[in-house]
Amino acid sequence: MTATGIGAAVKRVEDFRFLTGRGNYTDDIDRPGQAYAWILRSPHAHAQIMKIDTAKAAAAPGVIAVFTGKDLQADGIGGLPCGWQVNNKDDSPMAEPAHPALATDKVRHVGDQVAVVIAESKDEARVAAELIAVDYTPLPAVLDMNAAIAGGALVHEDAPDNTCYDWHIGDAAAVDDAFKQAAHVAQIDIVNNRLVPNAIEPRAAIGDFDTATGEYTLYTTSQNPHVIRLLMGAFVLNIPEHKLRVIAPDVGGGFGSKIYHYAEEAIVTWAAGKLRRPVKWTAERSESFMTDCHGRDHATHAEMAMDKNGKFLALRVATKANMGAYLSTFAPCVPTYLYATLLAGVYTTPQIYCEVRAVFTNTVPVDAYRGAGRPEASYLLERLVDRAARETGLSQVEIRERNFIAADAFPYQTPVALEYDSGDYGATLDQALTAIAYDKFEARKKKSAKTGKRRGIGFSTYIEACGIAPSAVVGSLGARAGLFESAEVRVHPTGSVTVFTGSHSHGQGHETTFAQLISDTLGVPFEGIDIVHGDTGRIAYGMGTYGSRSLAVGGEAIMRATNRIVDKARKIAAHMLEASEEDIEFKDGTFTVSGTDKALSFGEVALSAYVPHNFPHETLEPGLNETAFYDPANFTYPGGCHICEVEIDPDTGEIEIADFVAVDDVGRVVNPMIVEGQVHGGVAQGIGQALLEGCVYDGTGQLLTGSYMDYTMPRADNLPAFKVSTNTTLCAHNSLGVKGCGEVGAIGSPPAVINAIVDALWDDGVRDISMPATPEKIWQAIQAGQRAAAAE
């Protein structure tokens, strides 16, 4: 391993600019002559728009224009498209109601966009927006999923019973048969709480129009600028892609919420063309709460059938998933293909059946948030396995070990479509048990008891599928896009390298990790490598960053392009060294003729590529610039074991996370410092979900957790120092052996935390606690448990 190669904890390239205030985030950009947009949003969860009077607003100081949905309609502007089609049990397509960029006839959630004011300043736009008179007729709002499917108000007239789809996977009859054989059955009802992603950078967008070239440019806070260009250009604004450039500069966190194509992007781009002026929009945090797609929001009943030894026979799952008021870009796939396909977990459960009903409600649209479907699956399964252990009397370790897929069983085909390629779940569990000193847990529990505290330990042995995704597979499952990645490696005449990647970095450190791949492969100095991302004008194509795909798919594309560079350079070296290509060896940045001392540096070859004075041009082209598009053969399957230890004060219900261990198998680790950081962040979001975060609407559809005053973000003093390590098995189907690390923390941790709480309070009669497990919920559960015990 070299100091800057694969496996080295290289300090990040991007840090200098971020630490000195020189980052370039969307809101940091000002375009000459820029105007400012303010979006008027619905105060109602559900209402008919009778009339919109914009006259006063249009006459207000500084106002340039006021537009409503009718103006967009008049220009033939389409609605926001959905990128994934899921079919019903009978194979009919899901309900796919229109999602106008500005509401026309109805508003369907608080925050739905109604009109836009464009003015010389943001303050003027905002003041003028208050002068728009909207005549609403409020309609009954549907918020609860059970109420939504039970009849009553319809969010969309073309979605009967407020149902988007009623989908299933697995063999229901085989599962029913297995349950008949069961010696034990464990059951659980689970709510996976709705979360607000809360990247610290609020969304922003600037539309620009070049009157000379007719080219539009959109600067936006996006995780995937090419996808936005495709969706917005082709489906919304009808701008051909060669006339539309989308730039996602430095982006301050995404966690899924910046994958999707949002209305504001289309509005500012369209308005820029109409007004011939740049138009900037920046969300305030309160707008983020009511417009950034939320995450999770499942309600599930699940049952596990077991034989007398605690061996899993079958799993039956019924889930309701909240889509919110409209279908966001990826929403339909989250509770189906990213969820139900993971329900085998790390276990050999031979039969699984899962049905999922996706439901429209008058709430903010729900889409992928860090983990997307997989946290919901792992939470369900690991809570159920915890309960199965208690049902059978086995220890939490024993029940898992009896059901693990063995390390020599790969490739392993699950009953829910996926084929796992590698893993060693037993070894991972052992490593975690050692890290948390499991053998001394009882002593620690006794010590806590002496001070009146309750101590508990909770396990989660999870798997996830990432490296999204094989295009053929996702295409057959309803994806309307391929999920490959592109890379272009450009070697300059003096040997420095620019890499153009379709992946997008918004905190992941690609500028460092990807440069390590190049440094390792080409042996060029780390300082001579630049990674370019986030600009459709510079990068051939890209599917962006989500689903922990950047290294496994984007990195692999870079490796392929880099290997093509080596192949081409080898040809040039052979020519220069007057040797046959087969005799050229390339190592540590030097080409040699094997068995001789004839050698050329990579830089000399690069220079020659651009000064091809004596090239045989029929067989050897000048230049050293290669492109690759990589479509993975399979998902990758990171897994791991998270163990949480909690200490609870029964007087108040306060919880302290006494210890948290995460042992993750993310495949080969390119930069261990960055991998650890990714796990820390994911675990913090998982603990946030388990203990602190939850989105609450009142009965009329007002968002009660609409700011940091009411939505509890994890702070430094809520969290412990984490004990993080890896236990590696290599991915079997990419050359790097990498799996992905961006989401494992958020996927693995919530069940460990909740299982620990249930364990701590088991003797108080507590059998379940819902997320977020706030002090009051815990205190109330203890009271209820004690009351129940007293009544017996």
Partner: protein
């Protein structure tokens, strides 16, 4: 109504005309085009906007520009000496105390103020001090490590 303000920002005298409602962070970002100081919320909680005013950390989103009349303001842009990072900045880089970088300017400014008040803070004191700084990327683990190391470096150790 317009008001003339002048103050010192990162050692340089600056002035401008602002409205009564102009926030200090708007003055920095929009008038001076110093965009290192960020805005992440509208309820004075996230701390992305933390700067130093007359030597102590404040949230520049919760102070009017006119209130900084005559003040000595330091922002994230004013810490490094050319390419030489302030010890706290260097510690954040060394210990991977940042990911997306958006909360980072406020986090670093807050951390330096902590060390000015408390040169050798414990892990608990660091975590408690960071109540007013939200980070969504790092889980704070490496931020705490960075501040411990930055404090040590600032002490000259």
């Amino acid at each position: 109504m317009s008001y003339a303000v002048s103050m010192t920002v990162n050692g340089k005298s600056v002035s401008g005309d602002v409205e009564g409602r102009t926030l200090l962070v708007q003055f920095l970002r929009e008038h001076l085009r110093m965009t290192g100081t960020h805005v992440g919320c509208d309820t004075s909680q996230c701390g992305a906007c933390v700067v130093h005013v007359n030597g102590t950390s404040v949230k520049s989103c919760t102070m009017l520009a006119v209130q900084a009349e005559g003040a000595d303001v330091t922002t994230i842009e004013g810490l490094a000496n050319g390419d030489e990072l302030h010890p706290m900045q260097a510690a954040f880089r060394e210990h991977h105390g940042l990911q997306c970088g958006f909360c980072t300017p406020g986090m670093v400014m807050s951390a330096i103020d902590l060390v000015n008040e408390n040169p050798d803070p414990t892990e608990t004191e660091i975590r408690e001090w960071l109540e007013g700084n939200l980070c969504r990327c790092t889980g704070y683990h490496n931020i705490v490590k960075s501040i411990e190391a930055g404090a040590k470096a600032m002490r000259g150790g």
